[in-house]
């Protein structure tokens, strides 16, 4: 499951689109997408404000969307591309969903596999 820099940039553009969608809905400025085999399988604009749900971060919404569409809680083999570095809630959610890789930010930072961290 390799993602070329060109592919990663294209998926980041989609995550940016989700971020803009969130902002235009009056929500927090974050977006995320989940990619499997070169295709987007989950979309996540932040819906914290619109849903009145403090857990509805963009990454959480993208994971929920991908699990729902793929009809499985196991998202191994998938990559999450998000506009900002995932918070510990979102990174742990990615860990539970068994996501293979996280890419964040305009610099396309690759932080690899999500971890379960207590500190």
């Amino acid at each position: 499951m390799t993602l070329t820099p060109t592919d990663a940039a294209a998926f980041m553009a989609k995550a940016e689109e989700m971020r803009r969608r969130a902002v235009s809905a009056g929500d927090q400025s974050y977006g995320a997408v989940i990619v499997k085999d070169g295709e987007i399988v989950g979309l996540g604009p932040s819906r914290v404000v619109t849903k009145g749900d403090p857990t509805a971060h963009a990454e959480m919404e993208a994971i929920r969307d991908a699990a729902s569409r793929l009809k499985t809680q196991d998202l191994s083999g998938c990559t999450m591309v998000s506009t900002s570095k995932p918070c510990p809630m979102c990174e742990t959610a990615a860990y539970w969903a068994r996501l293979g890789r996280l890419i964040h930010g305009a610099g396309l930072t690759d932080s690899g596999r999500p971890e379960y961290r207590r500190c």
């Binding site: 009145g52 994971i63 699990a67 729902s68 809680q73 809630m89 969903a97 961290r117």
Partner: protein, 152 residues
């Protein structure tokens, strides 16, 4: 099919307006003798109910404000096909809907099992909960204090 799914999701989101009576499904069972033991016991009961129905793993949680349960949840990850649907997340979402706010300051979460996972503890932080109480033994509530945001 995708369009239909999106349409269904959209309709669901329209039907669910935070803070409205229609959104808060059913009344919450209040313990006869409210207190930490009774609240933790309720969390354990919810865990048992959910898992016996096959809705997810056996974890439950309640959110308490002014000695009254204002939200409840149990793991529904299997039912919803949602790896984020842990008991604590479900309880936070339920309390936010019922109270019509995503600021749960002044509230305490009681959760069955060990210390909440970092997803749930950070969710408690974002929801501004005052305190986390957990227990692997329903008779022994452990006061964890304010939810901690992992700083690594």
């Amino acid at each position: 099919m995708l369009t239909r799914r999106l349409f269904t999701r959209l309709m669901a989101s329209l039907a669910v307006v935070p803070g409205t009576a229609a959104h808060a499904a059913g009344s919450l069972l209040q313990p006869a003798n409210p207190g930490p033991l009774a609240f933790l016991k309720r969390a354990f009961d919810l865990a048992e109910t959910g898992s016996s129905r096959g809705e997810g793993t056996p974890y439950g949680a309640v959110i308490v404000k002014n000695n009254k349960i204002v939200g409840e949840g149990w793991n529904r990850s299997a039912l919803k096909t949602d790896p984020t649907a842990h008991g604590e997340v479900e309880a936070i979402q339920d309390a936010c809907r019922r109270l019509g706010t995503r600021d749960l300051s002044g509230c305490v979460i009681y959760t069955s099992g060990g210390r909440p996972c970092p997803m749930c503890e950070t969710a408690c932080h974002w929801a501004e909960l005052d305190e986390v109480v957990y227990g692997t033994d329903a008779a022994k509530p452990i006061r964890h204090g304010r939810p901690r945001y992992p700083s690594c």
